[in-house]
């Protein structure tokens, strides 16, 4: 390590590290330092060897590993890429040209934007006219989320959703503690302790059964037909996943995205904003079957254990093959403890699960429940606590 890295190279490396961070890589001081020392090593002689070396150093998981080459090539061979710029460019326009909201209300503004733009899309696509004003007379908790259009009320609804999620979490955790009561004699530790008494087991040590806490995996449909509800559920998801270790969240429309890392962002505004972007469907239909297949193939093994409840939030309008959906539902059913399907449409009068996709999925669902207002979500809590 005799060679000294020149100033220009250092700057370039710093730029590369910044690009990686922009793309969601976690790069600390230690990695930068090691990267610098790599530049003086034999590996730095050719890009072909430097690339895999940098990749091993900077990647932390498979998605980093898979994306790395592209970023590397673009930075060192071509011009800079800022992939994030692509995503953050989409939703700048806020309807009605409202002045910039104060910092505190930032998150809600983003959601409001999302909810409204989504609303337009659906009204056209699905033919459900958007009724207004209902929320003035009804209590927020029982109002259909679709009908809440006043930004103030939206703010309140979202706060309620987050609180509800937190309450659910607390309830589940308490329950877990109360159940830890199975006791068995821990012979090894008892003998160990008895050494200090000259071999007489004075103190008996017991083994407590370790209960796995209930894990919640939420799959949220963010397709066009659901867009009236998406922003609301995104907020609910954030409430569940934030702080709650045993929860995972996915969003799907035509494909599936794992969003828990985004949701764990401490900054609520940023998290919800990012997710609202990811949740924006590209239009086109929902492919529930295929999204579930992706889930079963790539994520299920990791996120599902024997005490997992999978919660699917979707209206069941599937443009894929119903057989495919049924197949994947069956696979999923084998793996997890319960499948809860929340369908916002149940709250509508005269709703029957007639969508083909919904019908083929129903046999595998343990609980088919409405989720059009906060009350219906609150009703889930006792069900989850019983599991």
């Amino acid at each position: 390590m005799s060679a000294v890295v020149g100033g220009r190279m250092r700057t370039k490396l710093a730029g590369f590290v910044a690009t990686l961070r922009d793309n969601g890589f976690t790069v600390g001081m230690a990695e930068s330092r090691d990267a610098l020392s790599l530049l003086t090593s034999p590996a730095a002689r050719r890009p072909a060897t430097l690339r895999p070396a940098f990749r091993a150093l900077f990647s932390a998981d498979h998605s980093d590993f898979a994306r790395f080459d592209e970023i590397f090539t673009a930075f060192w061979v071509g011009h800079h890429v800022h992939t994030r710029a692509k995503t953050s460019g989409i939703p700048k326009v806020s309807p009605g040209g409202e002045p910039a909201a104060p910092r505190g209300a930032g998150s809600n503004k983003a959601e409001a934007t999302e909810l409204r733009t989504g609303g337009d899309g659906t009204a056209a696509g699905e033919g459900h006219a958007q009724r207004e004003g209902a929320s003035n007379t009804e209590a927020l908790e029982s109002a259909d989320i679709r009908h809440i259009v006043d930004p103030d009320e939206i703010t309140k609804t979202h706060a309620l959703a987050a609180r509800l999620a937190a309450r659910m979490r607390a309830r589940l955790v308490r329950r877990e503690r109360a159940r830890r009561s199975g006791r068995r004699l821990d012979i090894r530790r008892t003998i160990h302790r008895s050494v200090s008494h000259g071999g007489t087991p004075v103190e008996l040590l017991w083994r407590k059964r370790k209960e796995k806490p209930l894990r919640l995996v939420v799959l949220l449909d963010a397709s066009g037909s659901m867009s009236l509800y998406t922003a609301f559920f995104v907020r609910f998801l954030h409430g569940v996943v934030d702080n709650f270790r045993e929860a995972e969240a996915f969003v799907f429309h035509t494909r599936l995205a794992h969003v828990s890392p985004t949701l764990r962002d401490r900054n609520v505004t940023r998290a919800v904003e990012k997710l609202a972007l990811m949740a924006q469907g590209i239009g086109g239909g929902t492919r529930i079957g295929e999204s579930l297949a992706t889930f079963n193939r790539w994520h299920a093994e990791r996120v599902i254990n024997s005490r997992t409840v999978v919660m699917i939030v979707s209206d069941g309008y599937d443009t894929g093959e119903p057989e495919r959906l049924a197949n994947e539902m069956r696979r999923l059913r084998h793996r997890c403890r319960r499948i809860v399907w929340l369908n916002p449409l149940i709250g509508w009068r005269d709703y029957e699960p007639s969508a083909r996709g919904m019908r083929s999925a129903l046999p595998y669902v343990d609980l088919f429940a409405p989720a059009h207002n906060l009350q219906s979500l609150a009703a889930l809590e006792p069900y989850l606590a019983r599991i």
Partner: protein, 293 residues
């Protein structure tokens, strides 16, 4: 003393492990930066074999710690030999020795049982430490492991701190049954091991099964690659390919095209669930054969 990347690639091949260039770079980097290597990938892609091959590359010992749920320090690090301690107490009591010297005696290294992690840092030549399926261990254990991997010292309350005599080369593998902590991921270099491409798998077959001819090896590798693309519950790994190839060689098959019957019947070597077996029907086998042969 330290090997260059080319040396490592060469010695890996000598050890019978056919690695691509990226992997040998990662293995070289382990030494260069002194960091552990975390390997992920589907079951059966040869994650554990990497550690075994690495031990041969450096001509050193492999110490393996298999992780499981409930693994604790007693099983991973050290444990006192209680039975011997009790015997010693009884014997010395009888001889009328004073309690303090008895205590001194029974908490000496003679009564210490080394478990993999402790023995890995107490070797004269640095061994390869394989921490297999680290995702199966509990989160508490992961935190403890992180501490060990950064300090390479262990404190035993009754005995004091034990410093590493040599720093082992650490390979961790994970099957992604649980998300690992960011801290552990960041501490490690990362390599994702994919299923080998056709040529490499054929070379693996040729290395491991000396009496297979290269045409058949190519055909088998292509066939397995096609099977992996099917929608299966359990995708066959390299071990399955080797089993299957050995079976076909044993049956005296020289050309897959000539004997579709034998191919279909021996597919049980590759397909390990009832559902997969039922899905890959005779017609599917023939379609795949038509594509690869």
């Amino acid at each position: 003393m330290s090997l260059t990347r080319e040396d490592i690639a060469e010695r890996l091949a000598e050890a019978g492990y056919i690695a691509d260039r990226d992997l040998s770079t990662a293995l070289w980097l382990m030494d260069y930066l002194g960091r552990p290597l975390l390997i992920e990938g589907e079951a059966g892609v040869g994650k554990t074999a990497v550690a075994k091959a690495l031990a041969e590359v450096h001509k050193t010992e492999l110490i393996r710690l298999q992780c499981y749920e409930g693994l604790d320090q007693n099983a991973a690090l050290y444990e006192w030999n209680y039975q011997r301690q009790l015997l010693a107490i009884k014997a010395r009591e009888g001889a009328g020795e004073d309690p303090e010297s008895v205590e001194e005696h029974i908490f000496s290294e003679r009564y210490l049982l080394e478990r993999p992690l402790l023995s890995a840092i107490r070797r004269l030549t640095p061994p390869v430490l394989l921490i297999d399926e680290v995702d199966r261990a509990d989160e508490e254990f992961e935190a403890f492991l992180l501490e060990l991997l950064s300090d390479f010292q262990v404190s035993i309350p009754e005995l004091g701190t034990i410093h590493a005599i040599s720093i082992p080369r650490v390979v961790l593998t994970s099957n992604a049954t649980r998300e690992l902590s960011d801290a552990l991921r960041r501490r490690c270099l990362y390599h994702y091991l994919d299923f080998p491409e056709v040529d490499r798998e054929a070379r693996i077959l040729l290395t491991r099964l000396p009496n297979i001819d290269s045409n058949l090896a190519q055909q088998i590798a292509r066939m397995v690659a096609a099977v992996r693309k099917e929608d299966l519950r359990k995708v066959p790994g390299i071990a399955e390919t080797l089993d299957w190839a050995a079976t076909l060689v044993g049956l005296g098959v020289h050309d897959l095209r000539q004997e579709p019957e034998a191919v279909h019947e021996t597919m049980i070597c590759l397909l390990k669930t009832h559902e997969d077996r039922a899905n890959v029907t005779r017609e599917v086998t023939e379609r795949l054969l038509g594509k690869v042969a």
